[in-house]
């Protein structure tokens, strides 16, 4: 595997353009759609993806989540999930 560094709070991440992320009413869940695949996301995963892709940085997205859910110290949890999403190719680091 290519050597990949870990994500950092100051990184800017975006959704892989080949993935479509959206709410699916019949499933009552957010889904990721991509060539030959569907991923159904739980609420936490969807909230993190929504807040952090498109935010000026992961740290900004995390702050937004903290405000929205009135929870502190979310940084480690958010990074942990984003690492998984990154490894699966759902998101990429914006250069």
């Amino acid at each position: 595997m290519e050597a990949e560094r870990r994500l950092r709070p100051e990184d800017v991440v975006e959704l892989n353009p080949n993935y479509h992320f959206r709410w699916e009413e019949p499933q009552q869940a957010h889904v990721l759609l991509y060539p030959e695949g569907i991923v159904k996301l739980n609420q936490t995963a969807a909230a993190i993806l929504e807040a952090c892709t498109g935010a000026p940085s992961i740290a900004d997205g995390t702050a937004e989540l903290s405000r929205r859910y009135d929870k502190r110290n979310l940084g480690a949890e958010v990074l942990k999930f984003l690492e998984v999403a990154h490894a699966k190719g759902w998101i990429r680091v914006k250069s």
């Binding site: 595997m1 290519e2 990949e4 080949n18 479509h20 699916e24 019949p26 499933q27 889904v31 759609l33 991509y34 060539p35 030959e36 695949g37 569907i38 991923v39 159904k40 190719g89």
Partner: protein
């Protein structure tokens, strides 16, 4: 087309998440492993544009998400762009599964405009000569050119390789070709032996040694290429000792509509002649999916016999493939004979050893209308 390895282990909440529409059985190619029925020529009354649109609307209401346009060769339908546009408007993720024949820059742009999301292009060899021998037509140069155009138009793309003993030794070359074309995914689909592939099984089945070499090449390439190229590898199910979790279970998440409107739990199921499959021309899709006897026949577990009924893995593989059980044992309710627990496993073992000891090569029976003939190249 959904396959094991495509992240299928999914609870669809009883909805047909994957809808596959076979727009036509017509195809200019003559692939001797075609998944269409051997008597495809009998089915000529294809659904009209409006009938297909009704299927798409009803499918979406039932919760379908992923939509595959396939055939035959779906590019032969002049209304493909119109159907893609309808599907995109309904909220499907639209996939086109094509041989590339009939695709050109103009139609690609129209498909992009209509909202098509992804293209799966088949390729059978890495050179013109073998490709022509396997598909019966000189289309290799066109396939390569159209693959580049697909990428230039910005589509994500799966390069699909139907794997047999004829091309399995070129695994590394296929990977190189895929990387050179800049596709995101390459899928090695070891053939599954139904319909035309079944007619040619003795000729197409690779040896254990070929498989092992090919798998080693895939592993090395995955390490070397990492995220640049995702390699799907559909395992040859005869060589496993547990059956594939076929379709994630009968009538679980997958719904196919054949060109004449026949609704099927998978693309091969109409080969089970004892089952009368419902048609969208006569029944609402909702009734077909939820109520029809055909879709309920092997749903859940109550239909299972031993050794499946008392097996701890029945929720994992659902007893395997009903079509394979039917073809090899004569009863679709039997355990898939690929399973080592099946009393019919010896039938599969005989096929595998047949591939090892095979001496003389017979011509392939190419896919053509009328009665199957051994006219293919050696």
């Amino acid at each position: 087309m959904p396959k094991a390895g495509s992240g299928l282990s999914l609870d669809g909440l009883g909805m047909p998440l994957w809808l596959v529409v076979e727009l036509t059985y017509k195809c200019p190619l003559k692939c001797p492993w075609c998944s269409n029925p051997v008597d495809f020529n009998r089915y000529r009354n294809e659904l009209t544009t409006e009938e297909w649109k009704a299927v798409l609307r009803e499918g979406r209401r039932l919760g379908s998400l992923q939509l595959g346009f396939t055939g035959g060769e779906p590019m032969l339908r002049r209304d493909l762009e119109e159907l893609v546009e309808e599907a995109d408007g309904l909220g499907y993720y639209t996939n086109l599964i094509t041989s590339g024949v009939g695709l050109n820059e103009k139609r690609l742009r129209a498909l992009k405009k209509a909202g098509l999301k992804q293209i799966q292009l088949s390729i059978q060899a890495c050179d013109q000569e073998l490709n022509e021998k396997l598909v019966g037509l000189d289309v290799f140069a066109h396939k390569i050119a159209i693959a580049r155009t697909i990428k230039a138009e910005g589509f994500p793309m799966v390069l699909n390789v139907p794997v047999s003993r004829y091309n399995i030794d070129h695994t590394a070359a296929f990977i190189e070709l895929a990387a050179d074309l800049g596709v995101e995914y390459v899928e090695f689909a070891n053939l599954q032996y139904y319909n035309w592939a079944l007619l040619n099984r003795a000729e197409l089945l690779p040896t254990r040694e070929q498989l092992a070499r090919s798998e080693a090449e895939v592993k090395a390439a995955r390490e070397r290429l990492g995220k640049r190229l995702t390699i799907y590898y559909v395992v040859p199910d005869y060589h496993d000792n547990r059956p594939k979790a076929c379709m994630n279970g009968w009538g679980s998440i997958h719904l196919t509509i054949a060109p004449d409107g026949t609704a099927l739990p998978c693309q091969e199921a109409r080969l089970i002649k004892e089952i009368e499959f419902p048609n969208v021309r006569h029944h609402a899709l909702d009734w077909i999916w939820t109520r029809s006897p055909a879709f309920n026949q092997f749903r859940g577990e109550s239909w299972m016999k031993e050794p499946c009924r008392s097996c701890s893995e029945k929720e994992k593989d659902f007893g395997g493939c009903r079509c394979q059980a039917y073809l090899m044992t004569g009863d679709a309710a039997n355990t898939d004979p690929v399973c080592a627990k099946s009393p019919h496993r010896h039938l599969v073992d005989a096929l595998i050893s047949g591939a090892e000891t095979r001496r003389d090569q017979k011509p392939l029976i190419m896919r053509e209308g009328g009665y199957p003939r051994r006219t293919g190249a050696r």
